[in-house]
C-alpha cells in the first residue's frame, strides 16, 4: 500500500500528512507534484490542506483543474481510495468528485480549535472504524458546507454524510463536516485527521479514519 500525497503550490499540510501516514498509520507514502507527477504505482491519494494556488478565484478552484487532479478523478472512478482534508476537501468538491461546496464561515472568523465529530454512516471504508465520537482539529476560514435542498436529500438518502459536528462551528448545512461520494471510496472533510495521529499531538483519533488505508488491499 502506497499513498500519494499531492502537492500544489500553497499546500501546507503535505508534510504533516506524509509523516502521519509513514510513522503513525504505517503505510508507504510519497509526494506527487501537481503538474508533472503521476499516480502510477500508488494505491491511494491524500489531498492535503493549505491554500493551493493562493485559493485564487475560489478555494481549491485552480488546483481542481490541475493535471494531477484529472488523474485523481480517473483514479477515484476506478474505486480507489481518495481522501481530502480541509483545502483537500475544497479541491474534491471543486473537481466534482464530491457534492456540494465550501463557503466562508458563517461568522467571518478563521476557526482553529478541536471539534467533536460523530460518524454518521459507517458503511464507507473511512468511517467503518469510527465507533465513537472523535475529536479532531479544524483550521479554516471557508468551511461552511453548502448544498441545495435536493442535493442534501440525495446525500442523506444515499448515506453520503460521513461526519457531523457535534457542535456546528461554521454554519455548515445539517452540521456536515465530511461527505463521501456515492461509491464511498472518496472522503472529504474539513477537520484534519493527519494532525491527530499520536498523543504527542494532543490525540490520535485521526487514526480511526486513516487506518482505513492500511487495510486496503494494494
Amino acid at each position: 500500500m502506497k499513498v500519494a500525497v499531492l502537492q500544489f503550490p500553497g499546500s501546507n499540510c503535505d508534510q504533516d500528512a506524509l509523516k502521519a501516514l509513514r510513522d503513525d498509520v504505517g503505510v508507504d507514502a510519497d509526494y506527487v507534484w501537481h503538474n508533472d507527477g503521476s499516480l502510477n504505482g500508488f494505491d491511494a491519494v491524500f489531498v492535503p490542506g493549505g491554500f493551493s494556488y493562493g485559493d485564487y478565484l475560489r478555494c481549491g478552484a485552480m488546483a481542481s483543474r490541475s493535471a494531477i487532479m484529472q488523474e485523481t478523478i480517473r483514479f477515484a472512478k476506478e474505486g480507489r481510495p481518495v481522501i481530502g482534508a480541509c483545502n483537500g476537501f475544497q479541491i474534491l468538491t471543486e473537481s466534482g468528485l464530491l457534492p456540494g461546496a465550501l463557503l466562508k464561515n458563517e461568522r467571518q472568523k478563521f476557526i482553529c480549535k478541536d471539534v467533536m465529530l460523530e460518524a454518521v454512516n459507517r458503511t464507507s471504508i473511512w468511517t467503518a472504524a469510527v465507533d465513537r465520537t472523535i475529536s479532531l482539529p479544524i483550521a479554516h476560514g471557508e468551511g461552511r458546507y453548502v448544498i441545495d435542498a435536493d442535493g442534501l436529500k440525495r446525500i442523506q438518502d444515499q448515506e453520503q454524510i460521513a461526519f457531523r459536528y457535534v457542535s456546528n462551528p461554521n454554519g455548515s448545512v445539517d452540521d456536515i463536516a465530511g461527505v463521501v461520494n456515492e461509491a464511498g471510496n472518496v472522503l472529504g472533510l474539513m477537520p484534519h485527521p493527519e494532525r491527530a495521529t499520536k498523543e504527542l499531538l494532543g490525540g490520535n483519533d485521526g487514526l480511526l479514519i486513516l487506518k482505513a488505508l492500511s487495510l486496503v488491499n494494494a
Binding site: A61, R65, E94, A101, L103, K104, E106, R107, V146, D148
Partner: protein
C-alpha cells in the same frame, strides 16, 4: 481587442457572510438606507474574438462554480 466583463455572484439563497459584515459596517457609518449587501466578482477578459458559446464555457468550467454561483457577462469595447 474586445473586452468581456464577467460577473460572478453567490446564489441568492446562500448566506453571503462577508456581505452581511459590510452591511452592518455601512449601517454603522450612518447609511441606514442599506438593508443588504452582496459581494461578487467582476472578471475582465480581453479576447481576440467574442464567441459567446466559448465565454459561457469558460464561466461554467472555471470562472464560476455552478453549485454556489450565478454568472452573467457583457461585451464591452
Amino acid at each position: 481587442m474586445p473586452r468581456v466583463r464577467v460577473y460572478v455572484t453567490l446564489k441568492p439563497a446562500l448566506l453571503d457572510s462577508a456581505g452581511r459584515t459590510v452591511t452592518s459596517s455601512l449601517q454603522h457609518l450612518g447609511f441606514d438606507e442599506v438593508s443588504d449587501v452582496r459581494i461578487g466578482k467582476l472578471i475582465h477578459l480581453d479576447v481576440e474574438k467574442v464567441e459567446e458559446s466559448r465565454i459561457k464555457e469558460m464561466c461554467q468550467k472555471l470562472l464560476a462554480n455552478p453549485v454556489i454561483e450565478d454568472f452573467s457577462y457583457e461585451v464591452v469595447g
